[in-house]
């Protein structure tokens, strides 16, 4: 049976996904609350996998929690912490428990996180992980052995439309499509003109593109991101707009900007949907959707 998210992808509707982050520890209260808050407002919920290389409760566990709550998870899976055997095994387990969407990522580097002396595995990369999903779907593991009971996943990947230089990223983007990526969730985009150019290029490919929307909660955060986060460019006009708002209204301004961006993408039929990342402020995702008129 195909996943609900895959059905949504194929329906041609404007897609909305968001993400929740598992906790550092076993207190799932906040995670479960965020799942409750968002599961019926989105087509699927991503569960991050030790994001920024910070050790947490696993994405697999978070994805199971989404299933238990009746939601539709997209399990994020990086190649940083598991070799091919562990990745395959987790995919088998995930499928057996109703997880049918997987986002295949290379993963951030170990030294950017909180276990700086850990071994970065990278036995596979994002592309090889996509191919692994395909192979498992064909009933075979990477050792060439037949599976007793197969899997069926809707597999996606990421792309960074603001990367500099962009050409090497686009080559990899095309390789990911050839490897069967059915959808892409992009790194945060703020410059609609530039993103539209990317979409002009990406449109002919047979895949779905969900634009990454990262909530700007303050002018400081916007400035930090544009200066420090690879592949993120926040136009000065947006930073000025945030700076112009009184301190207590900056978050509201950020919500307004996110909502306005989503509305423009949807109304202009620029891309196939959006992926909203509120990074610690999941509470306001419904407000972002309201501001977008969704």
């Amino acid at each position: 049976m195909v996943s609900r998210f895959k059905e949504a992808l194929d329906s041609g509707k404007f897609l909305i996904t968001s993400e929740v982050a598992p906790p550092k520890g076993t207190n799932l209260e906040k995670l479960l609350h965020h799942i409750d808050l968002l599961k019926d407002k989105v087509d699927a919920l991503n569960i991050t996998d030790h994001q920024s290389s910070v050790m947490r409760f696993p994405s697999l566990g978070g994805a199971l929690a989404v299933i238990e709550k009746g939601g539709e998870p997209i399990m994020q899976m990086t190649c940083r912490d598991r070799n091919r055997m562990a990745l395959e095994a987790d995919l088998l387990f995930a499928y057996s428990r109703g997880i049918k969407n997987v986002l295949c990522l290379t993963g951030d580097a170990v030294p950017v996180g909180d276990h700086k002396e850990a071994k970065g595995v990278f036995d596979l990369d994002s592309l090889q992980l996509l191919m692994t999903v395909r192979q498992l779907m064909e009933g075979q593991d990477l050792g060439g052995n037949n599976l007793d009971g197969g899997v069926e996943f809707c597999a996606g990947a990421i792309v960074t439309p603001e990367a500099q230089p962009i050409e090497p990223q686009l080559i990899k983007f095309e390789k990911k499509i050839e490897a069967g990526a059915e959808f892409f969730q992009t790194q945060a985009i703020y410059d609609l003109e530039n993103f539209t150019k990317f979409m002009d290029y990406a449109r002919p490919f047979k895949t779905k593109i969900l634009a990454g929307i990262v909530l700007l909660s303050s002018a400081r955060m916007a400035k930090y991101m544009t200066e420090n986060v690879p592949g993120i460019f926040v136009p000065q006009a947006l930073i000025d707009e945030l700076s112009g708002a009184p301190k207590e209204e900056m978050l509201a301004k950020g919500i307004e900007i996110a909502g306005r961006t989503i509305a423009a993408l949807k109304n202009g039929a620029v891309c196939d949907g959006v992926h909203i990342m509120a990074i610690g402020r999941e509470e306001v995702v419904p407000d972002i959707l309201a501001a977008a008129g969704l």
């Binding site: 993963g107 036995d123 990369d125 994002s126 990367a163 500099q164 050409e167 090497p168 990223q169 390789k175």
Partner: protein, 214 residues
């Protein structure tokens, strides 16, 4: 090709020499001389450190190339001093330690950590050149190794952490895949980057590795 080393902290060396009082020091005239971790000067400095620790230095030598058969000659020449020692403190790379192991049965304590196999790109700047992975890709990557030059050892193109041609782990380091892209483009061979590289075989020569040449 050079074996690139870094001297261990003196406290760590002292800890490793706990209970060993009479020490013979061995340096190397090739790689550790170049990296200033085990040449004549550093061996002399180490002897001072050892004396400060209260050790007795029984002697020292700097073997021209500690990883080849000159080591056997050096061990023989210094046999009487080594025999009267509790241990050898090696200021050659690990290859030298292995070589010495063939000829003597005294404890050999490394004073340096062997970091990588590198080339001296500019005077005093050593860069890792080869991870000895057993599946050379250099023909497909414009002579730039994605295993050593990319932090994650990616073989299918850049990750999302690349930023203006730099790496996400260090803004001073070049993104290997930006370099590979630029060079392949210049060579008119970008089609090589579009090829899918399958997962690598980590057991081309299974560990422990050895090859017998007939």
């Amino acid at each position: 090709m050079k074996s690139i080393t870094r001297q261990k902290p003196i406290e760590d060396i002292q800890k490793s020499l706990n209970g060993l009082d009479k020490i013979f020091v061995v340096g190397c005239g090739t790689c550790t001389t170049m990296t200033k971790t085990g040449g004549i000067e550093q061996v002399e400095e180490m002897k001072v450190h050892l004396q400060e620790m209260g050790k007795r230095v029984t002697g020292s030598t700097v073997i021209p190339t500690a990883c080849d058969d000159m080591t056997e000659v050096a061990m023989k020449e210094n046999e009487q001093f080594i025999r009267s020692s509790d241990a050898i403190l090696s200021m050659s790379c690990a290859l030298g330690v292995h070589r010495m192991n063939l000829y003597i049965d005294k404890p050999i304590i490394p004073a340096v950590d062997t970091l990588f196999i590198g080339v001296e790109e500019t005077p005093g700047y050593f860069r890792e050149a080869c991870a000895q992975c057993g599946q050379c890709l250099l023909g497909e990557t414009a002579g730039i190794c994605p295993i050593t030059a990319c932090h994650k050892g990616l073989v299918n193109g850049p990750c999302g952490g690349t930023n203006n041609g730099k790496c996400e782990v260090d803004k001073e380091k070049d993104c290997a895949w930006t370099l590979i892209y630029n060079r392949l483009k210049e060579q008119g061979r970008l089609d090589l980057m579009r090829q899918y590289q399958p997962p690598r075989n980590h057991h081309i020569v299974p560990r422990p590795r050895s090859v017998r040449v007939q």
